[in-house]
Amino acid sequence: MRVQRCKGSRDLTPDQMLRFRFVEKAFRRCCLKWGYEEVKTPVLEYLNLFTSTGTLTPGMLSKVYSFLDWDGWSGQRLVLRPDGTIPLARLYIDNIADNKKLARLFYTSNIFRFEETGQETRERWQGGVELIGVSSSLADVELILLALEVLAKMGIKGVELKLSHAGLVRSLLSELGLSDREQTMIFDQILDGDSEAFARIRAERPDLGRAMVSLLDLEGRSPGFLKNLRSLLGRSVPELVPIVDDFISVVELLDAVGCDYQIDITSGKGFEYYTGVIFQLFYDGDKIGGGGRYDALIPLMGGGDIPASGFALYFDCLMNLVEPAVLAGPLEQRILVKVEREAVKKGLDITASLRDAGYIVELWLESQQPSNLRWMLDVRSEVPAFVIHDSLKIKDIELETAGEVLTLLGESNGDKDSPA
């Protein structure tokens, strides 16, 4: 019987792993430079971390991998983490909240979600950033700029930024005179990607004011019409004013730094925990990341009145977007060493010295074809003790001591071109 890979799971081959590490490295470097500190949370968490209102939507919860633990007779369920932000908020409350309020944290981790067809991957990799302890437009903008910087460092051009505001959507729903439970239900439907949800509300509520209707259609590229909207709504729905103001101040800052964006109020799909500005990043129609403000999450989890915001970038998507030219970078010096049986000691000694000198050194194990390598080194028991084959210049050089080998390679270090 053929060995099977679990449906919906993936392997990362050496080539894909190169891409993965490239993406991860670019992400980590940017985060560290903006003053963020790296953390990791466990793969397993209790289900109840994700169940209450304000965390994940029921639609997402129905796709988590959950199971009873070995001591699960209590009915206590565990999950493979379906999200990065909620575990990180738990980590903050557990370990950091007492000592300092402001925390800039980031992680790279895998998350797990059931995907019905098994065609798409059920284990996804992402890099996430959370800025905890401050609620300001500048903080939101910091995150947006950091996300864009990471993508730029990966050489990904033509990224689209879409903005929405969870507070606006929520206020709108509360204006409809629905109960809390109904509001949450519709909000969940919108977040779970039911694009018809808004349309249905409009059909059911013809009495909605014109202002509401224009709010639903909110799309544009400048703070100008947000301001128009504020004047329009200010009288009929004064509660909306501070929310629109919050949105405007983020948009103005983005304008000030020359950052392109598009406002699309119905675009905030995915997470119930958002309370403020939501931003999503698209490349060629595919979502490659996103985030937003979630001021209520940490209070909801019992961590006190601490605001926060964050984002995640989807490594699985980004890996495929990195151009080979960007990925390639300078070639590493690689040497294949062939050792005669009688010269094993001498051979292993020189491979150690070469590795210490920064080269990648492979031992020849009979079957290996020397491809894509510039150097081959024969180590012999008789004179000449060392023969170096330079496949770039196509010549053999005979040497007597290990020192001579190192010197010769060191001198050739300038021309690193691949023989292929």
Binding site: M1, N48, T51, T53, P58, W70, W73, S74, G75, R77
Partner: protein
């Protein structure tokens, strides 16, 4: 082209049999007292039917062992809510065997119980035979913390002492349930459904068979609503000693329902413990026991280890097979076996069809190396079967969970059974053979020794245990 259909036992049997009779299928042997599992049709020579526990029908159709099946929508939804990509097509509502799933709570909690419970910080305990639907409901209600107790039956007797809520089946519009329960949410209306395997539905021509059903449904729908009484409903039982949670000194004793009732009663009598209405003619699950500070409830033996582990019961009479099943799933469970009660003797055995050329598990494993598909291991004891297959390095295998009549699964729907047997006669009659005996099981008394008990409660428990021990000594 062969067409295979899975038909239900139990509550849907009579009306389903009526429908198939009107459809002229000529299935002899599909009636109330059926002992036959494999049926042929006089009208459709290519059609074969097999009789299953109703819960097993959607599973069998989903995994492709059967092209068509008939069962309640409740069991279909129970499967689909957890496994939405199951290969099931809901073909047609057959209009009979209807009922409603209600989320119920104790009347003492009142109508606003649900709102109050949703915001509270402690864990909400929900008991149900429909654990997947219960979990989905709890998620949709956004309970902050909850735990689901999956049950084999009798969920209505759990609240309020052993659960806050129960998801149970009832009649349309029912406003009160036995044991003082109040319906809080109507979760699902259901009736019998015709289902199909997705592949079969797309590739097989079953037109003639389907037409025969369609033509004869009208009669059944005329009866719609006239008999929506689900099988497991207990006759009306007034709420007794169920007002509020049990006092902390009260010993909560779980007694088995089903065929262990008679030997349990005999043991209690011998131990000088008086008990009224057990076994009960009216289906009462709260018999009155003649001991001060002791409360007895009837629950399924299968459910007892989990309930005792949770501290919902202090003492329970169950089978060692179910204790082991529980411990294999939860090796660090706190339950302890106190007494071997020396009745309900069965062997847990591994069973294959008689003509399979193997005589032991090593032979079966060898056979597995040569074949290209996974072994299908059917059992009510999912964890025992899983451990057995694992320990014996059975290679690639799948566990098929079942709810009874496992002997009908071989050879078409499973390759190996892990089953209990008293004499082995039923197995032999079904052309099966035992290739291994896993262990012997008898009834036993279990408890959770880790709990913190008051002196009064400890004394009461000790007295019950000692009375039973003395009664056993006299056997």
């Amino acid at each position: 082209m062969a067409i295979k259909i899975a038909l239900p036992k139990g509550r849907l049997l009579e009306e389903t049999a009526g429908l198939l009779q009107r459809a002229g299928w000529g299935l002899s042997g599909y009636h109330k007292n059926t002992r036959l599992y494999r049926l042929g049709s006089n009208r459709f020579p290519d059609l074969s039917a097999k009789v299953f526990h109703e819960k097993d029908v959607p599973i069998q159709v989903a995994i492709g062992n059967y092209d068509l099946g008939i069962c309640g929508l409740d069991w279909i939804e129970e499967l689909l809510v957890k496994y939405p990509s199951s290969a099931l097509v809901k073909v047609k509502d057959l209009g009979y065997g209807g009922g409603v799933l209600y989320l119920v709570g104790s009347i003492s909690g009142g109508e606003s119980f649900l709102d109050e419970i949703g915001v509270r910080a402690s864990t909400v305990r929900i008991a149900s035979e429909y654990p997947n639907l219960a979990e989905s409901l709890a998620l949709n209600l956004r309970f902050k913390r909850f735990c689901i107790f999956p049950l084999w039956g009798g969920a209505e007797v759990y609240p309020p002492e052993s659960a806050d809520l129960a998801l149970i089946t009832g009649r349309v519009g029912e406003s009160h349930f036995d044991y003082g329960l109040l319906p809080l949410i109507e979760t699902l209306r259901y009736s019998a459904f015709l289902i199909a395997n997705k592949d079969s539905w797309e590739t097989k021509d079953m037109g003639e068979v389907l037409a025969s059903l369609e033509d004869n449904l009208a009669l059944a729908s005329g009866k719609k609503g006239s008999s929506p009484v689900p099988e497991n409903r207990t006759p009306a039982v007034v709420a007794q000693n169920s007002s509020g949670a049990a006092a902390c000194d009260t010993v909560r004793l779980a007694l088995p329902d089903g065929h262990q009732q008679q030997p349990t009663l005999e043991l209690l009598v011998k131990a000088g413990i008086q008990i009224d209405d057990y076994p009960s003619l009216t289906g009462n699950r709260r018999p009155v026991i003649g001991l001060d500070g002791v409360m007895a409830k009837l629950i399924r033996p299968q459910d007892m280890p989990l309930q005792v582990a949770n501290g919902n019961f202090d003492l329970a009479i169950t089978g060692r097979d179910w204790v082991r099943e529980h411990l294999y799933q939860f090796p660090s469970s706190p339950i302890k076996e106190l007494l071997d009660l020396k009745f309900g003797w069965v062997s847990i055995v591994a069973v294959v069809v008689k003509d399979l050329p193997v005589s032991d598990i090593d032979g079966l494993r060898q056979l597995g190396i040569e074949r290209s598909v996974s072994f299908r291991v059917a059992s009510e004891y999912v964890n025992i079967a899983d451990k057995y297959a694992r320990d014996n390095h059975l290679g690639s295998y799948r566990i098929v969970p079942t709810w009874g009549a496992t002997e009908a699964f071989l050879p078409e729907d499973a390759d190996l059974l892990i089953e209990n047997t008293q004499t082995g006669q039923t197995l032999a009659k079904n052309n099966l053979k035992i290739i291994d005996t896993l262990f012997q099981s008898t009834a036993c008394l279990i408890s959770h020794p880790g709990g913190v008990l008051s002196a009064a409660k400890r004394k009461r428990m000790y007295s019950i245990i000692e009375s039973l021990r003395a009664a056993l000594g006299g056997v």
